[in-house]
Amino acid sequence: MTDPYIRFDKVSKAFGPLTVVDDLDLDIARGEFVSLLGPSGSGKTTLLMLLAGFEAATKGTVWLDGKRIDRLPPHRRNMGVVFQNYALFPHMTAAENVAFPLQMRGLAKPDIAGKVQRVLDMVQLGRLKERRPGQLSGGQQQRVALARALVFEPNVILMDEPLGALDKQLRMQMQLDIRDLHRRLGLTIVFVTHDQSEALTMSDRIAVFNRGKIEQIGSPEEIYDRPHTRFVADFVGETNLVEATVETTGGSEATVVLSSGKRLTTSTDMALEPRQKVMLSIRPERIRLGETSAANSFSGRIVDCVYHGDHLRVMLDEAAGGLVVKAERSGRAWAPGDEVAVSFTPADCWVVG
């Protein structure tokens, strides 16, 4: 990235003895949708608060469009923040809430009315503008909060788990709506979430947080298919983690031996040494049952088989590495005790270090 729009430069934040953000670097380009993904307490929300100006960094600097902003008070940063519980003003109507940032910027009344109407129409709330937040549903409040953050055309939109309080269906709808807004308006969005599927759905890039540091940053495909660490592989999606020892290496592939003596061909982007202990990540949905492929193929016995509606979850015995397999229901019917062929491609057997 040549010209980052937002730059965190060696930023640390400590609350007393507790370091929440630890010497962190992060660049975000203009128009990018970046998700900060991590478990609670990993520092992702704190980083957002540092960007919004609600917290001051203990060390390091924050830059926006080439200007240093970490000393600027929040009301002069021109960032639209959508809070976890929306933080709508309960004593104002939806329209008054949305008009608030425009009034703070001293716009003329007719201009304000026009802009408010346009942005409320955009989030399909034009008819409910005279209602107070207490009279709106969770999803509608969410839209008002979004409209309020968009209406003054801020430099950046910051969202702190904005969809956490919505039910699943509404959440998925809002994910698509926000993604659509991002593309249509060319917004720069920093989105904090602990929901990996949300991050995978919406983001251009995902930064996976763990203990105040970014474990890995990359596109959703990179994060999901080529995780760099065990933590990322485990946190983003579901995976089988298997210990192995490197036997031979060659380019992006390596041959490893499991403790059971099985030999597997794996993919990697790390420089591996023979006899090095590594961890393999094999996604459950990439494992094929009842097929034999050239590379990684062995047989195992089914221990348990759980019905999940759209798929079957098949647990294999220790001889097959105790793998969990997400099997399609359209395939054969499996039953506990069945002897079955297990296989996956080298590309789906990824070394995570």
Binding site: F54, H75, N85, H91
Partner: protein, 392 residues
């Protein structure tokens, strides 16, 4: 049906102690007080014949012999000194001179019987000035003279309501002073209490505990003790004056006691909890992220406070003000101990009439005026505090 009836009876039995308590210690005294403010039965009870004889008198022409005979007849029927005393006091309060007139007339009536000629006993019985109050008092068991007097008004000879000259009474001035001092105390309570409540909400843990305890502890101490403490602190030789002089800020003691300053200081301190606690509980319910939200939307701290936090505190400020103001209106001990003669509030006057002058009519009338004024203010508050101001 039986079950429902029994349920209702059990419910009634449960609230019965409350109802009895309310009736005995709230409703009944209130009714008695209001009745006392308008009842004036003594003359009508003791002078029935006179009442009939003066019923058609125009109150301007000289008293007729029938009126005098009727009065002599009524007076002769009075056997108890207590009743005579009550009647005399009632008549004397309307027209001075009745005390000597009545004692002379009573002894004449008791010596010579009911047929005595009143004009011969005392020339004053020919003066309509002394007949007007008798006719007035005997005509009805109820009167508006106490209520009028409570507002510095009276009826003239023709029965029209007139305002008394300022030298004669000061009830209206004292009532105005009561509302002024109470308003001032309420204002100071808001000025101190609002930031205090905001501070208490913004901190957590033991610090909040300490802040709340600092407000609550005085509340658990007797009002008399707190007022006495201020009495000591505010003296010329008190801690405050000595401290300020030791710091070299003043050369001679500030006048803090026996004046309005002292009363307002002490009352503000005593009533502050009633302002802090409602605001605190209202602010506690305000989401923490509203102020950051306002800041992120471009509001500098003061404007964010003005547009967001203050409107959301209004409900607490209103109920706190109501509590403080209503309590302040009835304050008695603090102004009595710390104030000077010109700082006494309406309760002091009521206490004077009730316990000092034994004039229950005046005490009741002032009480009624105070009650009505309070209810009016409450109604105004209710109107102001309706949906529009607090539609949350």
């Amino acid at each position: 049906m039986n079950v429902a009836l029994r349920g209702r009876l059990v419910g009634l039995a449960l609230v019965a102690p409350l109802l009895l308590f309310l009736a005995g210690f709230f409703v009944w005294p209130l009714v008695t007080m209001m009745q006392g403010a308008v009842s004036d039965p003594i003359a009508a009870r003791t002078l029935p014949t006179t009442a009939r004889a003066t019923a058609n008198w125009d109150r301007q022409s000289p008293p007729t012999p029938e009126m005098k005979a009727a009065l002599a007849h009524d007076l002769a029927a009075l056997k108890q000194d207590q009743v005579v005393g009550d009647l005399t006091r009632r008549l004397n309060s309307a027209q001075s001179g009745f005390r000597t007139l009545m004692s002379r007339t009573m002894s004449a009536v008791r010596e010579q019987g009911p047929d005595v000629d009143l004009s011969a006993v005392d020339k004053r019985w020919n003066d309509i000035k002394f007949w007007q109050p008798i006719a007035e008092a005997a005509a009805s068991r109820y009167t508006d003279r106490y209520l009028l007097a409570a507002l510095d008004m009276d009826r003239d000879a023709a029965g029209d309501i007139v305002t008394l000259p300022e030298s004669q009474s000061a009830n209206k001035a004292i009532l105005a002073r009561t509302f002024f001092v109470s308003g001032l105390v309420t204002l100071f309570c808001i000025v101190i209490g609002l930031p205090y409540a905001m501070l208490a909400v913004s901190v957590t843990g033991w610090l909040r505990g300490v802040l709340l305890a600092a407000v609550l502890l005085p509340l658990w101490t007797s009002l008399l003790v707190r007022t006495a403490a201020w009495f000591i602190l505010l003296q010329d030789n008190g801690l405050i004056n000595r401290g300020l002089m030791a710091l070299g800020l003043i050369d001679r003691p500030l006048a803090l006691i026996f004046n309005r300053t002292g009363v307002v200081i002490a009352m503000t301190h005593v009533l502050l909890p009633f302002m802090v606690l409602p605001i605190f509980s209202v602010l506690l319910a305000v989401p923490r992220n509203l102020m950051p939200a306002a800041a992120s939307l471009g509001a500098p701290p003061l404007r964010a406070f003005w547009r967001v936090l203050l409107p959301l505190s209004v409900r607490g400020i209103v109920s706190g003000s109501l509590l403080v103001f209503m309590a302040a209106i009835g304050y008695y001990i603090t102004p009595a101990l710390i104030g000077g003669p010109t700082d006494q509030m309406i309760s002091y006057v009521i206490a004077f009439y009730a316990t000092g002058a034994a004039n229950w009519g005046m005490a009741g009338a002032l009480g009624v005026i105070l009650l009505v004024a309070t209810l009016l203010l409450y109604a105004v508050y209710q109107r102001l505090a309706s949906d529009k101001a607090m539609g949350i």
